[in-house]
Amino acid sequence: MSRSSGRGSGLFKGLGITLSTMTRRSITQQYPDVKPELPPRSRGVIALLEENCTSCMLCARECPDWCIYIDSHKEVIPAPEEGGRERSRNVLDRFAIDFSLCMYCGICIDVCPFDALFWSPEFEYAEFDIRNMTHEKDRLGQWMHTVPAPPALDAHAAESKELQAVRKKAESPPVAPPTTDGTSE
């Protein structure tokens, strides 16, 4: 405090501050009664879109504290026609994130090449035991519906590659129907 304001003036200043604070609205958020207004794209929890996952393990390997557990096995798809080649694909058995280790860096989401992981604003998943913080793929999948839609493109931005491809397919004349039953998709 500056000396020029006189000795003891701080006493009244203090009283003034507390009194003026009292007349203003308090900043308390009544959380369980009133849900907080989180900013859009808040990073609450990581959701998994299981259909998109190819078990490529990129997320698990990039994770700085190794909190993603992935088990998968290979499944052989028989050749669609005589003399064709058999194909194999990965089937996801287990996908779990240990949220007691996760530090919410979001690297797994950035690194996923197939858009299988998303940020969800959901945050109410506390547990009484730290061992229950490992959430399996069904739980991670339940959070998918809380994931907000991707941000809209700018008004005059180019159409996304996926949309272009779909549009091209729809506008081009139909090709001859497939001759055999489609065992492959």
Partner: protein, 316 residues
Amino acid sequence: MADVLEAAVRLIVIFAAFLTLPLLVGQLEHKVMAHMQARVGPMYAGGFHGWAQLVADGVKFAQKEDVVPDAADRTIYRLAPALALIPYFVALVAIPVGPGLVGQDLEAGVFFVLAVMGVGVIGTLMAGWASANKYSLLGAVRQVSQLMAYELPFVLAAASVAMAAGSLGFAEIVDAWEPWWLVWQLPAAIVFFVAGLAELNRPPFDMPVADAEIIFGPYTEYTGLRFALFLLAEYVGIVLLCFLTAVLFLGGWHGPFSDSWVWTLAKAGALSFVVVWLRVSYPRLRADQLQKLAWQLLIPVALLQLLLTGVVMVAW
């Protein structure tokens, strides 16, 4: 028979006030302090803005185990809360709220109340001594040294107004009171209020229970209902101090429009708001600052006020 009945009714009314007014002050403190700190305070107990918080606290205290330390002086330890609380109740009996609205109208009411209030500190000293805990003892010693320093300005300030009214009775003082006394007796009023706060250990004079240094001073070892009694004593003390200040210095039931007990209650209520306001605004005083404030500021001011009162009385 009618006398006994009347005395019983008066005592019951005072006992009811003794139990409810401190809770009102406590709730006021919860809420005012919260809002001064940009919080909302208790919101759940009782449904509407946590009005029943202190009732809930009381239930909690009643459920707790009453622990007595092994090394404690058991009898004194158990007796201390009662000794801290009862003097305030006895003092309340003599405080008038309106004309004729008093437990027992004493001729030397001011003397009686000030003397009885001083007894309460013995309860605290007993608690600190009997707890067999160094923090308790330190707190008790601090409490006693604080009382020694502040009892003097407290009494001197009260003496000034008693001298001005020419009486030690509360009713006579209020009758003699006139609005210009607000200016004439202002230094005495301030000294009285500040010294009273210090006697009650209210922040910023709460060094005896400074929780950052000596846990909770004399009350460190207390749990459950006995601890609650100490807390109740503190809040009854606030009620008592506010009524005393209102009756002695603010004209009691005198007010604009008409004289009524409502004015006494309103003045005491406003003063208890000030008590909370001071608590929120100021940090705790150190031991040396406490003593300095009492001996170098409050006592000289009280003595000068006494002189001024005497001069005005003689010259009038």
